[in-house]
């Protein structure tokens, strides 16, 4: 490699007052040597240029040597998880290329790209294309994909940590395997925030074929200040709660200082309420307040992001929708409402402020109840120790594989033997066995073994030459429409009755409302007029808000990393060491817990039993996160119910769970150990949960991705209505007539792994088996028990038959009617 291109790049850095960091130079030379790798570091530390520099230097080299005469097609592909990021990326990549005198076109290709721009890109491909995983998949579904990608030299995956662990990540793994087959010298580079499983992340990115691969650590993280908003000493801190608005006054004071602020909440419902409360508190801030969450119309969100960059906002209330690396200039302060839930997430949010070199990143955490103070201290501890959560990647998602195979069938067809080998080079499908592969092939050709007898199904056909191709153009265009569906939830649009799009909202929320009901959405009070054609028609409501949408996904469990640090802090408190200010603020409360019962510490499971007018309560604190607790509570209730039939009311949070029943004597240690035994876990769990109902819900995404749900034909409106069916109906139909369908099994597996975190549950039971049990009969609710008791979302478990359940509900209805 000649020296000159390096000089050009260094000069461009120098012009801007920068010097290339060592990790950037490392990445450039690794790329120059033809290697692949993963660069991880904090937001805003120059990761993009570390990855982009390699291809730029190569381009400059070729341009100077005049050696470059390539086949048509882009040479660099830049994958971003969010189309909202594409525009900014194009701008900054273009700037760097132009800055070193490289005449490269950088263009974006996303769902928003116009038809004419796409046509131009096909005829005259740009040197670099910025795109999303879905649009990449679409590009692979065109017949000329193999010639188009043949000259591809580098693919760069931005924010890889955001895709890892999701089905979009699996989709991208498959696409990358395809690209490597089409362009054998392809280098793959990923950019990621710090993760607990970076090696695995690298492995997923490069596939099993790649040897080695560089893991390049970026700039050392800036110091991060994690603080809690401590309550005034004279005010009692609530033991339970979920909004945290009692600290509104203090937060408003904090916001009063000059500068901009991002206020993060954990749920969209919380974001709506905080936005509304802030407005009520300070109506003079109207212009300077913004609301940003995933359900709000994209153009509105983009306006807020631009406003943030321009410094027009005093405060933007946001959810995880702003967790991604949208490249706006940093704000002055970041506030986190409620539990941080995980170290990685808190650090990423904190990274939103103070980007200037040497500047501090800091976050002020506003606990919504007392014990969340411990979580803040725990997050600080974990961060200092460099502990960060892992993101386990998904494996063997046959729905995604089916979609990908149809994509390949549409794009020139595929040879089954070569494709199986290719698919197995991915981390996700390395363990794909022959029968699962055969089943998937059968599924896309004749709908699976059961449908073989019905020649009316045609999607993919096997030709004389053994290649699989899409059956006709209509199937191909229908499939292309469905490619972008991995991300979307079952969402329906919210529109004003007179027109005007507001955003999207989960169907399950709207389904509970009736016309005339008022709900809070996008910071506005809206009245539901009617729901039709997947649109909720609304008008502005004069009345005050009633319902606040409860979106799914907001209830992330406390991470294992954080949970074990919490236990560690409680163990210190037990010995009278109160080193952290948050723990000091909690000292009276923790001492009360210690006095009335015991503190949960590593190696000890605390169990409390108490009697109230409601019945007998059993509280258990395994600290395994709310999802695992839901499974544990149900398991325990079911096993108790096997001893003597009973009906339990169940409440869970991140620390533990409660069982409430009219008769539930305090179990002795031997009984408890038997009830919490790790053996027969899966069988008992499946028997205890309404597993098929859960799987039916999980099937929604699977059905959509695998192409079981009709997504419409281009240009065909309502005539396609007779092809509409809910995923629930499809689930029922398949369960009845094709019970061995592997997608049903996948739904059950996803329920166990994702909805119940069965691995964590298993670990918790193993820990309990080794722990000492500390059982206490308490006179009243302890500080740990109180939030569980106050938890309003209660489940009920009963071992009664279905018919009896109907009868019981009817009975209740009748009694209710009798009262009124």
């Amino acid at each position: 490699m000649s020296i000159e291109p390096h000089n050009a790049l260094e000069a461009w850095f120098a012009d801007r007052g920068w010097t290339p960091a060592e990790f950037q130079r490392d990445a450039w030379s690794a790329h120059g040597r033809g290697e692949s790798g993963l660069i991880h570091s904090a937001t805003g530390s120059g990761k993009s240029l570390a990855a982009w520099g390699g291809p730029l230097l190569e381009g400059l080299n070729e341009a100077r040597n005049g050696s470059e005469r390539r086949a048509p097609g882009p040479r660099v592909l830049w994958i971003t998880p969010l189309r909202a990021l594409a525009g900014d990326t194009v701008r900054s990549l273009t700037e760097a290329a132009a800055g070193i005198g490289l005449d490269w076109r950088v263009e974006k290709r996303t769902g928003d790209t116009s038809g004419s721009a796409r046509q131009r890109q096909r005829r005259k491909p740009p040197e670099a294309l910025v795109t999303t995983p879905e649009s990449l998949s679409l590009l692979l579904s065109y017949a000329d994909a193999d010639t188009w990608f043949r000259s591809l030299g580098t693919v760069i995956v931005d924010e890889w940590h955001e895709l890892l662990g999701s089905k979009r990540g699996v989709q991208l793994e498959l696409c990358l395997a395809r690209l490597r087959r089409l362009a054998p010298t392809l280098r793959t580079w990923g950019l990621s925030a710090t993760l607990g499983n970076l090696d695995e992340a690298l492995h997923c990115l490069l596939g099993t074929d790649a040897s080695g691969g560089q893991l390049i650590r970026g700039a050392a993280p800036r110091p991060l200040r994690i603080e809690a908003l401590l309550p005034d000493t004279d005010r009692r801190f609530p033991w339970a709660g979920h909004l945290g608005t009692h600290l509104m006054r203090q937060v408003v004071d904090h916001l009063d200082a000059p500068g901009s602020c991002l206020l993060f909440t954990n749920t969209r419902a919380q974001a709506e309420l905080w936005f509304e409360s802030l407005l009520r508190e300070r109506s003079d801030w109207l212009e300077g307040l913004g609301l940003h969450h995933g359900s709000i119309d994209r153009s509105l969100r983009e306006r807020i992001e631009q406003g943030l960059s321009a410094g027009q906002f005093r405060c933007v209330v946001a959810t995880s929708s702003l967790d991604l690396g949208v490249d706006f200039s940093p704000v002055d302060r970041v506030i986190q409402i409620g539990s941080p839930k995980g170290v990685a997430r808190l650090a990423q949010r904190a990274g939103r402020c103070g980007h200037q070199p040497g500047g501090h990143s800091g976050v002020l955490c506003v606990p919504t109840h007392a014990l969340e103070l411990v979580e803040v201290a725990a997050a600080r501890r974990a961060w200092k120790a460099g502990e960060i959560e892992a993101r386990p990647p998904l494996r063997l998602s046959l729905d995604v594989l089916a979609q990908h195979l149809v994509t390949l069938a549409a794009g020139g067809g595929f040879d089954p033997t070569a494709t199986l080998a290719e698919v197995r080079t991915t981390h996700a499908f390395a363990a794909l066995d022959d029968t699962a592969w055969e089943w998937t092939l059968a599924f896309i050709t004749h709908g699976g073994p059961v449908l073989e007898a019905y020649p009316d199904f045609r999607r993919v056909v096997r030709g004389e030459d053994g290649r699989y191709r899409i059956s006709d153009r209509r199937q191909a265009s229908r499939h292309r429409m469905s490619i972008g569906t991995i991300t979307s939830d079952a969402a329906i649009a919210v529109r004003y009755h007179g027109g005007g799009y507001i955003g999207t909202i989960e169907e399950s929320f709207i389904a509970r409302l009736r016309p005339g009901d008022v709900f809070l959405f996008g910071g506005r009070s809206l009245e539901l007029v009617r729901v039709r054609d997947l649109t909720a028609w609304v008008r502005r409501a004069g009345r005050r808000r009633q319902a606040v949408p409860r979106w799914q996904g907001g209830r992330l469990p406390l991470s294992g990393t954080l949970a074990s640090r919490v236990l560690e802090l409680l163990a210190e408190a037990e010995h009278g060491h109160y080193a952290e200010p948050e723990l000091q603020a909690l000292q009276p409360l923790l001492e009360m817990q210690q006095r009335e019962s015991a503190l949960p510490v590593p190696g000890r499971l605390v169990v409390e039993h108490t009697t109230s007018r409601e019945g007998e309560h059993l509280f258990i604190y395994p600290f395994a996160g709310r999802l695992a607790h839901e499974g544990l509570a149900t398991l325990l209730a079911w096993r108790l119910g096997q001893l003597s039939p009973a009906t339990f009311s169940i409440a869970v949070n991140d620390y533990g769970f409660e069982l409430l029943s009219s008769t539930l004597a305090a179990p002795d240690e031997a009984t408890l150990r038997r009830l919490l035994r790790p053996t027969d876990l899966l069988d008992d769990l499946l028997a205890s949960m309404n597993a098929s109902e859960l799987a039916r819900r999980q099937f929604r995404d699977i059905a959509r991705i695998a192409g079981l749900i009709f997504q419409g034909y281009p240009g065909r409106g309502k005539s396609a209505r007779q092809l509409q069916a809910s995923s629930g109906l499809i689930f029922d139909t398949i369960s009845r007539y094709d019970p061995d369908n592997r997608l049903l099994e996948q739904a059950r597996r996803e329920v166990l792994e994702q909805a119940l975190e069965v691995n964590r549950l298993r670990e918790a039971l193993a820990r309990i088996e080794a722990a000492s049990l500390s059982v206490h009969e308490t006179a009243r609710l302890t500080p740990l028990a109180f939030p569980l008791w106050a938890e309003r979302l209660r489940n009920r478990l009963s071992t009664q038959r279905w018919e009896d359940r109907v009868a019981r509900m009817v009975d209740q209805l009748e009694r209710a009617a009798g009262r009124s």
């Binding site: 599924f443 449908l451 009316d456 199904f457 079981l708 007779q722 007539y737």
Partner: protein, 218 residues
């Protein structure tokens, strides 16, 4: 178990847990919304839905016919899910089923899904919306505003269902909806039919069916 009945224009109609109505004095069995051939249509569009719904629907209907030996079977619309044109299998299946019950007259109201029904002209006695029968109007679509004085009528089309809740538990069941003295909507009979949840409203009564019994709700 006592039968659940509703009174309509001095006729007594028994609601059957099998999602049908037995009109004893006319010896008439009524069902709505069979949506035959639905899975097949989905497959032709490239959606991998297994077969079984049509056979199951016809089998359940045969059981009812054999149990009640009606003098007349009334199908309240949407017998087919879509025009049977390309689906030769469905036509053969349906013709075979019809000949099995050749002795039972079958009257069909044409529903919005019943398009391209010419091949079925011989199988059923087709009628338009609102066909009168002993003082009752047989319809597919319920009247626009079923609560007002429109009756008496029997209809389908809505695929009504109700959601039962209690103690954190929740179930969705197919249902009949009655406007006393005015009309009655039947649940969808087909095995692969979606449903539309009906909430409680004044002037209307809902009857859920668990498959084994009828549960009056309002």
């Amino acid at each position: 178990m006592t039968a659940t009945t509703v009174e309509l224009a001095e006729h007594t109609l028994e609601l059957l847990p099998a999602r049908a109505v037995w009109w004893a004095e006319q010896a008439t069995l009524l069902v709505a919304d069979l949506h035959l051939g639905k899975a097949g249509l989905f497959r032709r569009a490239g959606l991998a839905i297994p077969e079984g719904d049509t056979a199951d629907t016809l089998r359940r209907l045969s059981i009812l016919i054999e149990q009640f030996t009606p003098e007349r079977l009334v199908l309240l619309g949407d017998i087919l899910h879509a025009a049977p044109g390309a689906d030769g299998g469905l036509m053969r299946q349906l013709a075979a089923w019809r000949s099995r019950h050749a002795a039972t007259p079958m009257l069909a109201i044409r529903g919005n899904h019943d398009r391209g029904i010419e091949p079925l002209a011989e199988l059923f006695d087709w009628h338009l919306e609102g066909m009168p029968s002993a003082g009752l109007a047989l319809r597919h679509h319920p009247p626009r505003d079923p609560g007002t004085a429109t009756g008496p009528w029997l209809a389908g089309h809505w695929h009504p269902a109700v959601r039962l809740r209690g103690g954190g538990d929740s179930l969705r069941l197919p249902a009949f909806v009655e406007w006393p003295g005015q009309g009655l909507i039947l649940p969808a009979f087909g095995s692969m039919t979606g449903a539309h949840t009906i909430t409680a409203r004044p002037g209307q009564r809902r009857y859920a069916t668990s498959g084994e019994r009828i549960i009056g709700l309002d």
